[in-house]
Structure formats: structure tokens, C-alpha cells
């Protein structure tokens, strides 16, 4: 069995110090703009001590907690996605030479060794999903790879779940399982720690720890157990890809038309969404052009634009793309669902749309749901496009 160590709370600064000495920039949770964000960190005083979060559909508030712990909150709006998949970056530049020739120059990312403290189980699961997407054999993404390679991950076991969390349902938490260097479990008087890589072991060896007592280990287990039992959200039984495939014309999608703002917040906060928009920026003298990418979203009408047509012109079609991709077609693409149960999309949806509730409504057989709907309930395959989007070319209603 792995040796578990105990680092007293008043020695926690030494972890930050050892990481800095080892050459890492340290990033960790800090309160900013009334939320917990991952930012550069050098002193333990900067950690969200005694702060917890209250989350619910469309709701996220930081509150004082009765404990003096640093990691007594569940998830902030963003964890580590921006550290590996940059929100905006330049990929290459083109330069026009005086003789008209074009030269293309790659812009490699300036990644530096970065240690992240406070990574949750759901975030690690999301990272391994992104690894599969960005580091595939055919075209590994050098920008992602460079940032990814430079990460040192200090994970934290969750001892408390928000009401929005459902990582037990997706099988991704609350206990961290793999893909980290060091793991922490926070108790009132300190941290039970274990190393999972040689780099993690080297940092751990440089700390003044004691070996964790039986009692401390039991407290850790009880804490993880508590976080598990706090979760009440469940996914519908059975295969979600099959359910969503069968629900493609479900009348319930239409109800999203009145609720979803298509703001794309859910895709921005989701740790697994990978969509990108590529953009070109010409310099003022017209000689160089930067080709970059930024986060995209399937809620953006441009996302499916082609030949003057927006394929997913209607709001419910875009919501359907999001939910069906996350919980359905993702499984065929990457062997598992694209949801790690972090609950961010639920808390950060401005109108409180809750994926769990939508999945539940969609899992009621369409016939049963239809019989409840008025006779003229609009199905998705209507010809009526909203006036604000280009009209579709007339094409046959026939379905294969």
C-alpha cells in the first residue's frame, strides 16, 4: 500500500515554496470577482480560507464556511481548461515578402512549468478527455501538448459536494483516481498527501511530513464518503446515446426555445468542450497576418454556417447539438460521455437550465410526451426559419 503522509496546516506554505524552488509557476484557487478562479499564487493567505460556495441552477455564491479550510468549496466557473486549451492564441503568422512570396511561421506557445494546486477529480477526468481529443495520433496539437507537458498537478479529494455536482453519476469523482502528481485530502489541522509520480514524490520528500495516522486516514475516507452522499442528482437509467438518438424529434426540445438564451455560457464553463473558431488578423501595413484560434461554441449561429445557411438556425436545434454531443455522440467519438459531472453548466446558465432535468424530460418516451402536448406542437423539422437567420434553401421534406 502507498505510504500516506501528513503535512500540518501551518506547514502548507512549504509546499508552495518547494514548488517555486523546483521551478514551477504556482497557480491555485483565489477569490476574484466573487468567484474562485485559478490564478498565480505565492502565499497561503491568498487561498480561499474559510470560504465555501452555494451552487444551484443559475446560482453561484461564495459564503463564509464554519471551517478554516482552504478547499471547502466545490468548483469555480473554470478550473484548468484555460491552462491547456488557451481561450485565445496565435497558431501561425504569414508574412508577405516584397517579391510577393508568402512565408508561414509557426508561433509555438510559451509554456513554462506550471504547478496547479486544487485540481478536482472532475477536472482530471476532463483533462484526460481533452488529452484524447487534442493528442490524437493523427494530428497531435503542439500548442496543447506543450502546455500539457509543463503541468504539475496537485489534486484535492472533495470532502463536500455542491448541490449541482453529480460526478458520482458519471463515475469521475469525488475521489481523484489518476492523472496527477500529488494528491491532498484536507483535514482541519492539515493535509493527508500521497505522490503518484516521481516528480510528485520528489516534492513530497522535500516536505516535513509525518506518516498519516489511522485516524487521519479514516477522517479522509469519511470526508469523501460525505461528499459522495451529498450528491442527489442522477442520470436517467440506460444508454444515454440510445435515448438521445431516439429523442431526436422529441417535442421537449421545443420547450428550450422559450428558455435557452443561446449565450453559450454552458459550453464556455464546461471543462470538456473543445470547439474553436479560427480567426485571421491582418497587420495595419497589410504585410503580416496572424492566424489564431479562440474558444467557440455550438450555440453560436456561425458555428454551423455554410453557403448562406445556418444549419442549426433554431435555438432548440443548438441546444440539442450541445446535449446530444455531450451525453450521446461523444461516446462514439471518445469511448465515454463528454460530461464529468462537475455541474458548472447548471450553476452558470443564466436562466438555470439544468442538464439533468432536460435529460430526464427527454428520457420520457416521445409518444408519451407527445400525447401530453397540444396537437400542433411544433416538431423540429419545420420549414419556418426565424426571420433573423438566412432562409434555408428549399429542400425536400422526405426522410430516408
Amino acid at each position: 500500500m502507498k505510504v500516506r503522509h501528513f503535512l500540518a496546516r501551518d506547514r502548507f506554505q512549504t509546499l508552495l515554496d518547494r514548488l517555486v524552488e523546483a521551478g514551477y509557476e504556482v497557480i491555485g484557487p483565489r477569490v476574484r470577482d466573487h468567484a474562485i478562479l485559478f490564478e498565480p499564487l505565492s502565499r497561503v493567505e491568498q487561498l480561499p480560507e474559510g470560504i465555501t460556495d452555494a451552487q444551484a441552477p443559475g446560482h453561484y455564491r461564495l459564503e463564509r464556511s464554519d471551517s478554516g479550510r482552504f478547499f471547502d468549496w466545490a468548483t469555480g466557473p473554470q478550473a484548468i481548461k484555460p491552462l491547456t486549451f488557451a481561450p485565445r492564441e496565435t497558431l501561425w503568422r504569414s508574412e508577405r515578402q516584397p517579391d510577393g512570396r508568402l512565408v508561414f511561421r509557426e508561433q509555438p506557445p510559451e509554456a513554462q512549468p506550471t504547478a496547479v494546486i486544487g485540481v478536482r477529480a472532475c477536472d482530471l477526468a476532463a483533462l484526460s478527455i481533452h488529452d484524447r481529443h487534442f493528442l490524437n495520433d493523427a494530428h497531435p496539437d503542439p500548442h496543447y501538448r506543450e502546455r500539457r507537458r509543463n503541468l504539475f498537478l496537485v489534486a484535492v479529494n472533495c470532502m463536500r459536494s455542491a448541490t449541482t455536482c453529480f460526478c458520482t453519476a458519471t463515475g469521475d469523482g469525488p475521489r481523484v483516481q489518476h492523472g496527477f502528481d500529488l494528491a491532498l485530502s484536507e483535514l482541519d489541522d492539515g493535509f493527508v498527501m500521497e505522490a503518484h509520480t516521481l516528480e510528485g514524490q520528489a516534492i513530497l520528500d522535500a516536505l516535513e511530513t509525518t506518516s498519516a495516522t489511522h485516524d487521519q486516514l479514516e477522517q479522509v475516507e469519511a470526508g469523501i464518503e460525505r461528499a459522495t452522499h451529498q450528491q442527489t442528482r442522477r442520470l436517467p437509467e440506460g444508454s444515454l446515446p440510445d435515448m438521445l438518438q431516439a429523442a431526436v424529434d422529441h417535442p421537449h426540445w421545443q420547450s428550450l426555445n422559450d428558455r435557452c438564451l443561446t449565450c453559450g455560457n454552458c459550453t464556455a464553463v464546461c471543462p470538456t468542450c473543445f470547439c474553436q473558431t479560427h480567426v485571421d488578423q491582418l497587420s495595419l501595413d497589410g504585410k503580416t497576418s496572424e492566424h489564431g484560434r479562440q474558444w467557440g461554441s455550438c450555440f453560436d449561429p456561425d458555428h454551423s454556417y455554410i453557403h448562406g445557411t445556418v444549419i442549426r438556425a433554431e435555438r432548440p436545434q443548438r441546444y440539442r447539438q450541445w446535449l446530444t454531443h455531450k451525453f450521446g455522440t461523444w461516446v462514439e467519438q471518445y469511448g465515454r460521455s463528454g460530461c464529468v459531472g462537475c455541474g458548472r453548466c447548471i450553476a452558470w446558465c443564466p436562466v438555470g437550465i439544468d442538464v439533468i432535468e432536460e435529460l430526464a424530460a427527454l428520457s420520457i418516451a416521445p409518444e408519451a410526451a407527445l400525447s401530453k402536448a397540444p396537437d400542433d406542437a411544433p416538431a423540429l423539422a419545420t420549414n419556418a426559419a426565424p426571420a433573423t437567420t438566412p432562409a434555408r434553401p428549399t429542400d425536400g421534406e422526405d426522410t430516408p
Binding site: C275, P393, P400
Partner: protein
């Protein structure tokens, strides 16, 4: 490691206006080694880049055995394609590719071909037809059915006339709306399927055009007992990366850029049934 997203410099070696809004470009990589190593198959596409404007996916229309040049036929619809239409011999642009999975030209050998295209998006099928005509003996009868929305939309009338001259090649043209000068049929492409003589058990059906038309053709072909895996479709979606990274071209679980643009009907049937997927 260089990113697969960085283009190579290419040079315009030929350009030709086809119609007021269609033109063809002949391109060649300026680095002879890159050009010599370049291989593609029928129905694949390249990403063409204009500085400051961006990249667009464009099908390769030349013959894969022709290694000197890469041909594209393009319709001016927006900023990038309009400016590509301004390029002249000697001008430089960015080019990367080839991408995707093209037409199953080998699998189709020895079978009757039914090629159904709709609208102006027929570039990928024109190259396919030319390819087959250059290897006529390897394929059975060829039926080409081209539908357009309005009779004014028909391009390449001469090409259709030339194709008709080949043995065992039939060309049917039809418009949804014709005018008095339109000598051909008026009505949907599907009206021909009962008249043309092909073996449903030994045929390859290639479809390219608006998705509504594709749905109608698939339905008619199923009624004629053509197996779903003998029906191929060339799909279009918004594309930015062409390598399965940006997520924009997704169609159900498929990345059109990587898994397509050519799919069998069997692969796509569940996702074609509905609008906005």
C-alpha cells in the same frame, strides 16, 4: 514539431473563369519537394488560405494520377472565395491538405454508377465523372443526373454534351423551375430513377448536393433495393481546422473533415433524418 495547421506556400499556375461566379484555379506548391510528395484521392479537399482573410475547404477536382498540378473549381460566395477569384498566374496563397476520405473509386469498379448532383455544389462529382471517363473500361454504365433549382443555374452545358458522347453514359438534366428556353425536364431528380437502367444489386450511387435532395434520393434508392452501403454522400459543413480539432464540422458523432466528407448512407442514416443536426 510543426502544427498540421500551418499551410505551405502555393502558386497559381493557371486560372480560368467558368461562369460569371465560378472559376477554376490550377495550383502548385512552390517547394518542389512538397509538390512531389503530395498525394490525394478522388473527393478529398484542401484548405486554401488568403492572408488576412482566412481559409476555406475546397474539393480537389484534378485527377489523382496527375502529379504536377492541383485543380480547384470554386464558386464566389463570400469574402475568401471572391478574392480567390481575383488571383492571377504567379500569385501566391496558402495551401494545406489533402484532407478527408473521398469517393470509393476502387470499390465502385465493375459496377453501374448512378451520380446524382444538385445545385452548384457538384464540383466533387465533376471530377469523379472525368476520372471514370478516363478509365471507362473499369466501370459499368454511368447515369449522371444533375438537378438545379432554376434553369439559369446550370453550368457547364458543354461538359454535359461531351459526356453524353461516351458509350454507356447517360446524362439527365432537370430544373425545379424551368423557363421557355429550358430544353430539359422540369421536376425533381428522383423522377428519373424508374426510367434509368441500372442493376440495383451491382451499382454504386454517388450523391452530392443539398441535404433535402440527398434525403429524397436515398429514399428512392431504398425503394429500388439499393443496399445502404452502396450509396455514398458527400457532405458539407462549416470547417476551420480540417483535422478533427475545431469541432465545427460535426454531424452526429462524425467529424466531416476527418471521417468524411464522403460517407455511406448506412453511416449517416440516423443523422440525416432530421433537420439541424
Amino acid at each position: 514539431m510543426t502544427s498540421a495547421l500551418v499551410p505551405f506556400e502555393a502558386e497559381v499556375v493557371g486560372c480560368k473563369d467558368e461562369t460569371p461566379d465560378m472559376f477554376s484555379l490550377q495550383l502548385r506548391f512552390t517547394d518542389p519537394e512538397v509538390q512531389a510528395a503530395y498525394r490525394f484521392s478522388m473527393g478529398q479537399f484542401n484548405m486554401l488560405y488568403l492572408p488576412g482573410m482566412g481559409e476555406v475547404p475546397i474539393s480537389i477536382v484534378s485527377d489523382p494520377d496527375e502529379r504536377e498540378m492541383i485543380d480547384h473549381t470554386i464558386r464566389k460566395v463570400g469574402s475568401v472565395t471572391r478574392n480567390l477569384g481575383e488571383l492571377r498566374v504567379g500569385d501566391r496563397l496558402g495551401l494545406r491538405g489533402p484532407y478527408g476520405r473521398g469517393w470509393p473509386t476502387e470499390e465502385a469498379e465493375g459496377t453501374d454508377l448512378v451520380i446524382v448532383t444538385g445545385g452548384l455544389g457538384c464540383a466533387p462529382s465533376v471530377s469523379l465523372i472525368e476520372y471514370v471517363l478516363h478509365r471507362r473500361g473499369r466501370y459499368g454504365r454511368m447515369h449522371i443526373i444533375q438537378g438545379v433549382k432554376h434553369s439559369n443555374d446550370l453550368i457547364w452545358r458543354e461538359r454535359y454534351d461531351a459526356w453524353r458522347q461516351h458509350p454507356d453514359v447517360e446524362v439527365y438534366l432537370t430544373a425545379d423551375t424551368g423557363d421557355t428556353l429550358w430544353p430539359w425536364h422540369v421536376g425533381p431528380v428522383t423522377q428519373f430513377f424508374d426510367r434509368i437502367d441500372f442493376d440495383p444489386a451491382r451499382c454504386s450511387v454517388f450523391i452530392c448536393g443539398p441535404e433535402g435532395m440527398m434525403r429524397a434520393v436515398i429514399k428512392a434508392m431504398r425503394q429500388r433495393q439499393v443496399p445502404e452501403e452502396r450509396i455514398w454522400l458527400s457532405m458539407e459543413r462549416n470547417m476551420h481546422c480540417a483535422i478533427g480539432s475545431c469541432g465545427r464540422c460535426q454531424l452526429g458523432p462524425k467529424f466531416v473533415c476527418r471521417d468524411g466528407p464522403v460517407f455511406t448512407c448506412r453511416e449517416l442514416a440516423p443523422y440525416l433524418t432530421h433537420r439541424g443536426v
